[in-house]
Symmetry: C2
Subunit: 294 residues, 2 copies
């Protein structure tokens, strides 16, 4: 079976390579999200999964022809309102700042858009773990580039006493005159490799000074499907606490499907600020204010 989302994915990647913040990326993103949601609606059925995550229910998509199944999908966050989902992306690309009461609905649109390609690829393409990660990185990177009105770089340089050191990084945004800088890593899930994010933040702090680059980590989900039947969230809150205490301080962690165990980190020392990705767009101006402490 051909992979029906592949041509639009290739278009998106090409547009993003040229200029991550361009109008053409918005168009390619909207087209791909639309096609992904269409595919899931018309060619797949929802199969309930036993949720071992308190307060959340999950299903997976199963393709009608191939029987191939998707990653777990949060039933309360996945919406089939394609018109609204597409409008939300276009509005955010036009620097829409959502109000408090609009955040829940925006959260659904963002989650659905992110899952459209990821779950759509799960059910139509065998063994493709890479392209959902690249898609999610472009999705987040593009919306952040539009919000910040800045094209991100993928490396930083620092002059030292005897040479200039250049380091490859996740997205680095220079926000412009009087507005500071942002270090924005994007992951579909974190697991044990997340320590890299804190380590890179530490290098930036060491090279350029603490609070020069604000660290904003954006993650899709921490769900894990167990033997096609149940869903768990894999979280390591004790390790995050140690990293935030002893390596460096991330300014925010935004999730498309925020894990319960990480949301709780806001309430105890060192108070890691875990929020929904929708919140990012509401507090973007605060993030851009370099003398705002938290």
């Amino acid at each position: 079976m051909p992979a029906p989302l592949e041509p639009l994915y290739v278009d998106l990647r090409q547009a993003a390579n040229d200029d991550l913040g361009a109008d053409g990326v918005t168009d390619a993103l909207v087209a791909l999200v639309d096609e992904g949601l269409d595919l899931l609606q018309d060619n797949a059925e929802r199969v309930p999964l036993e949720s071992k995550v308190e307060g959340k229910s999950y299903f997976m998509f199963r393709h009608n022809e191939t029987g191939r199944t998707s990653r777990p999908v949060n039933a309360d966050l996945f919406g089939e309102d394609r018109v609204w989902t597409k409008k939300a992306i276009r509005d955010l690309a036009a620097r829409w700042v959502p109000e408090e009461q609009e955040l829940a609905k925006l959260h659904v649109a963002l989650y659905s858009a992110a899952m459209s390609y990821c779950a759509g690829t799960d059910v139509t393409k065998r063994g493709d773990k890479k392209s959902p990660g690249t898609f999610f990185e472009i999705f987040v990177g593009h919306l952040a580039a539009r919000a910040f009105q800045s094209t991100p770089k993928r490396s930083v340089s620092a002059p030292t006493l005897d040479e200039t050191i250049t380091l490859p990084t996740d997205f680095i945004f220079e926000l412009g005159e009087g507005k500071g800088r942002v270090h924005l890593p994007v992951k579909t899930s974190t697991r044990e490799r997340v320590v890299q994010v804190w380590a890179h933040q530490r290098v930036l702090d060491g090279m350029h000074g603490v609070n020069r680059f604000r660290g904003l980590l954006v993650v899709l989900t921490e769900t894990n499907k167990q033997s096609e039947q149940s869903v768990v969230e894999v979280c390591l809150p004790g390790q995050w606490t140690a990293y935030q205490m002893y390596i460096a301080q991330l300014f925010r962690v935004y999730y498309l499907d925020p894990p319960v165990a990480y949301l709780a980190l806001k309430k105890k020392y060192p108070f890691i600020q875990v929020k929904t990705f929708a919140d990012f767009f509401a507090e973007r101006e605060a993030i851009e204010t370099p003398d705002l402490a938290t």
Copy 2:
């Protein structure tokens, strides 16, 4: 074709799980190394590779029946003297401290022993990337456990003001009364994930104080085979410099096949001490001296 080294590998893993420092691990290690060298000698031929690494020549093993090929093998470091290789392992397990003039010969024995199972598995088992890593970890961990006369742990705990945080780590050795502690990560190669090693060192320094745990990274090689024809070393010395400057300070990096680009780091700030793994056994007493600065 059955994987001929597998039964002895399973024996080794079982012995190491019970007690990494036990005599039974020495025996299982020697038996597996012997079998691996035997297999490579009798059932495989050496195929030269074009070396793009200055001053080093490489070949790969090709199995006589299956035609399957191995990772690159350093021609100057791989020796077929099975009697000497086995004796070296047994002597190190008995806490032999080599003299300066014995180091080159010991280096050959250690490299050959490490490669015996790795290359032997490459040519006899399809797609097994995991067991060579586990083998190498047991090989290094066992010899270090014997040298330090200490069984390593795989986690550290730190009491904080409101809770005790436990962190999974690489090998942690408590050297005993007046002798300090060692943090010993083991990798078959490092690539971009190596930042984890510096990050974990940073957490240990933050939790327990700088220079409380000496960081000793042990790596097999950084070689990479390109299209079955040539060999390169993949090294990121600028990044290592940044990590050593801004994240934490590793005390030593030991290689079984030391890359030229990393050996050069000894000579310029921040002076990362990259050596052969044979050197570890010669300077073990210095490492155990907690008030020795370098």
